[in-house]
């Protein structure tokens, strides 16, 4: 009985930790890709300079679209 409880508790903690990790990973994927007329592609990811300058209006756009 005790072993079963420990197992259930362990599974619950594991899934919670997994959810947090997945959420963090998803957050870290925030990035903007810019396509210029000469064919160049510039990717600005979270943590890079200017990233928040671009990510902020992008988030506003998404929030506005969803009301």
């Amino acid at each position: 009985m005790r072993a079963a409880r420990t197992l259930v508790l362990g599974a619950a903690l594991g899934s919670a930790a997994g959810a947090v990790l997945l959420r963090r990973r998803a957050r870290s994927r925030d990035r903007v890709e810019l396509y210029f007329d000469d064919g160049t592609l510039v990717t600005v990811g979270k943590g890079q300079p200017d990233a928040e300058r671009l990510l902020s209006p992008a988030r506003e756009l998404l929030v506005a679209a969803r009301g």
Partner: protein, 146 residues
Amino acid sequence: MAQTADALEHLTEISSQIEAAVVLDREGTVVAATVDDERAGRMAGAALELFRRADEQREQELVQLDAALEGGSVFVVRDADRLIAATTRAEPTVGLVFYDLKSCLRSLGEAPPEKPKPKPKRAPAKRRTTTPRSRTTTRKKKDESG
């Protein structure tokens, strides 16, 4: 305006990934949208700000961008005098969304097709009730003087 609204309606019909879209001019004025006016105005403002900030990144002109965010993605594509901004669920098929947005903008640039002129209706042919006349040939009168 009606043409733009039709193009946006077509866009949301063909692309299941696009949740909301707005067409705006280079000044940020909403031309047409799939959402209500208030949301469209906010979307247009944010899209224009995003596009302007991104355009400052390099000397070359920016043609399109996409931003992958936690809860979804946003796309902005421009043509000569308009921008189209759209939002999708997370992890969309980026190439396909760009293709659909560009097609939508291209369709806005095209003149509406001219309606073909209706052909004038011919009066129904009268039925002959009498037997057709025998063919008559006209001969040139011989020159009597010759």
